[in-house]
């Protein structure tokens, strides 16, 4: 039964070994990248490498590559909703301008009034 094959697809250990070596190399790479100041790209590079690593884990260690479409749909839904949460909230912060014309986060003023708890 083809359905059965989908579920019980057996990934050979050689694949796992390739993946773990790749993952360790990527870890070394991201640590190395942290020693270089890339400005705004610090965060981009770090997250891109992390995403690549996570993708490898999901596809091979977690067998998503060999899973039924339904599983892939579930994974995509999870990522999609996470992005909704992050980006739609950030869209508010990124476009905030206060009455002095100052953009977030500089508009955040914690010295407004000292407010020790009563």
């Amino acid at each position: 039964m083809s359905e059965q094959e989908h579920i019980d697809h057996i990934v050979p250990p050689s694949t796992y070994i390739t993946i773990i070596i790749t993952l360790l190399c990527l870890t070394a790479l991201t640590v190395a990248a942290a020693y270089v100041d890339l400005g705004i790209f610090n965060i981009v590079v770090a997250l891109a490498i992390a995403t690549l690593k996570a993708t490898l884990v999901v596809l091979f260690f977690m067998h998503a590559k060999y899973s039924p479409k339904r599983t892939k749909l579930v994974i995509m839904a999870g990522i999609f909703w996470l992005l909704i949460l992050l980006f739609m909230t950030l869209s508010d912060y990124a476009s905030r301008v206060d009455y002095r014309g100052i953009r977030y986060p500089m508009s955040q003023n914690t010295h407004f009034i000292a407010s020790p708890r009563a």
Binding site: G78, W81, T89, S91, D92, A94, Y104, R117
Partner: protein, 564 residues
């Protein structure tokens, strides 16, 4: 004459010998059951308990507001009353009501399965609900809770003197009950359908619960982590939401509403599902535009996640963001409109009876119409800047949640009561109760729209005297409403033991749940059913014994399945 009258009045009707209710005995057999039907009954009892606690708080609020200066409660007590009313009703009544009771009972029956996919997890979710509920009750007894059900920081995390931590922990825990229920439903609908039960043969009740489960799965974890962080902030002094430490209270609102707006759909979608069952059954006709109604449920679940900051238009969020979210808010109104139009269109060409469940369906239609349309006022930026945080909002969400969700819940409870208990409720008193509820509800909440537009803010324990007239009306309505809720509680309980035996399919209705005995067996069906008909198809189901034009076959010799 048809067989329907015969089955309804025949003296031979007896309860089946073996049912899920009498298969085993003893308190252990209930508290350790993994039968979805028994778990549904456990939920029914506990949810009803919380409903009456919440209802008591509501009565105190309305009585207190009879006079502008509020003679009944102190400011602090009043604040505790409305907070605990909100927390109880939302987290412990509305969210679990239809899914955990009717959904739990019916989804396996409707798709022809023996149980949910994970029966033990189902039981676990009830225990989690009870543990969460106990924490919240504990907070109510020891100091109460006065933060508003929204737990806005820094009021809740720094300034409140009430028992915030146990209440927040209680709601946090209960969230997992909801997550596990949703997970169970999703997996069940995907993998447990009987042969022939294709996606587009599913009853819309199942579609609605599928959409609800999606919301539960994706939204609830966010409120869990948010309340977890708020609790940590109160107890250990973490600072994410505390402006004194540089945190941002608006961030709390973003996270809170990311769940709590979609949570509104957790409350209303299942009720829509119930209505989508009631209308075709009592109009004896396929639901108009089945595919559109099913798609509308999913659309609501998805778009419902994109509108949450419409609760925050006036917190000083960015203007651009407010405009974008207002736009998306208007989009989410469309699927609800589609559903309403389809329900109304279903009535055309029907054979409409006015049994109690149908009265609730009509009540739902009317109240949901008002509730849904007033949502447009609040989603409209130019009106929201006036009516936000006033009684207009209070009236709006009560029309949706009480007028919509509770009407759907009671309608469903009446409709499936013969399936759950095997016995019929008393028809006439039930019809009267439905009318009392409808009248009482409108008298309670309609005046609040006017109050809101006049500018009376929410959560006021005293108010300027010019608002008194409408408050008196509202309190009068609330008294009628209270009777309307007590009546079904009394006669449904009575009917469960002494009602007339109903038979397998008293209405008759077309769902798979009506093909098995009432009350069903523990295994639901003696043999796994094979589905060969579309949902709500009365024309190709001769075993129902209806007078279908063009079909001459007598019901007693009808073939087992449709003859097309």
């Amino acid at each position: 004459m048809s067989a329907v009258t015969k089955t309804n009045t025949g003296p031979a009707l007896q309860l089946p010998e073996k049912t899920y209710l009498n298969s085993t005995y003893g308190i252990r057999s209930w508290l350790l059951t993994t039968d979805h039907k028994r778990i549904a009954l456990l939920y029914l009892i506990s949810v009803t308990f919380f409903f009456f606690i919440g209802g008591f708080f509501a009565m105190m609020i309305r009585l207190h507001l009879l006079t502008p200066s509020g003679y009944l409660l102190s400011a602090d007590t009043y604040n505790r009353m409305f907070t605990m009313h909100g927390v109880t009703m939302i987290f412990f009544f509305l969210i679990p009501s239809i899914p955990a009771i009717l959904g739990n009972f019916l989804i396996p029956l409707m798709i022809g399965a023996k149980d949910l996919a994970f029966p033990k997890i189902n039981l676990l979710s009830w225990y989690i609900y009870i543990i969460g509920g106990s924490f919240t009750l504990y907070s109510m007894i020891t100091g109460g809770l006065d933060t508003g059900w929204t737990f806005y920081t820094p009021l809740s995390t720094v300034y409140s003197n009430s028992a915030v931590a146990p209440a927040v922990v209680g709601v946090f825990i209960t969230g997992f009950s909801s997550i596990l229920t949703g997970l169970n439903f999703l997996v069940t609908v995907h993998t447990m359908r009987a042969p022939g039960m294709t996606w587009f043969r599913l009853p819309l009740f199942v579609w609605a619960h599928y959409a609800t489960s999606v919301v539960m799965i994706l939204g609830t974890p966010v409120i869990a982590i948010t309340l977890g962080l708020a609790a940590m902030e109160r107890v250990f002094g973490l600072g994410f939401f505390n402006p004194a430490m540089g945190g941002d209270p608006i961030l709390f609102q973003h996270l809170f509403w990311f769940y709590s707006h979609p949570a509104v759909y957790i409350m209303i979608l299942p009720a829509m599902g119930v209505i989508s069952e009631l209308i075709p059954t009592f109009a004896r006709k396929k639901l108009f535009g089945y595919h559109f109604v099913a798609a509308a449920s999913l659309a609501i679940a998805v778009i419902g996640f994109l509108v949450w900051t419409h609760h925050m238009f006036l917190t000083g969020q960015s203007t651009y963001s407010a405009v974008a979210f207002s736009f998306l808010t208007f989009l989410v109104a469309i699927p609800s409109a589609i559903k309403t139009f389809n329900w109304t269109a279903t009535l055309f060409g029907g054979s409409i009876s006015f049994d109690t469940p149908m009265l609730y369906a009509f009540g739902f239609l009317g109240l949901f119409l008002v509730g849904g349309l007033t949502g447009l006022f609040l989603g409209c930026l130019g009106i929201d800047m006036h009516v936000h945080d006033t009684y207009f909002v209070v009236a709006h969400f009560h029309y949706i949640m009480v007028g919509g969700a509770v009407m759907g819940y009671l309608g469903g409870l009446h409709f499936w009561w013969p399936k759950i208990t095997g016995r019929m409720y008393p028809e006439w008193i039930a019809r009267i109760a439905a009318l009392v509820l409808f009248v009482g509800f409108n008298l309670t909440f309609f005046p609040q729209f006017v109050l809101g537009y006049l500018g009376m803010p929410r959560r006021y324990h005293v108010y300027p005297p010019e608002f008194q007239v409408y408050n008196v009306m509202s309190t009068a309505g609330a008294s009628i409403l209270a009777i309307g809720y007590l009546l079904p509680m009394v006669y449904l309980t009575w009917a469960a033991f002494y009602g007339k035996v109903a038979g397998n399919n008293p209405w008759p209705a077309t769902g798979l749940e009506w093909t098995t005995q009432s009350p069903p067996l523990t295994e639901n069906f003696e043999v796994t059913p094979v589905v060969t008909w579309e949902a709500y198809d009365f024309h190709n189901r001769p075993e129902l014994g209806l007078d279908v034009p063009g079909h001459t076959g007598s019901p007693t010799v009808a073939p087992a399945h449709g003859d097309d």
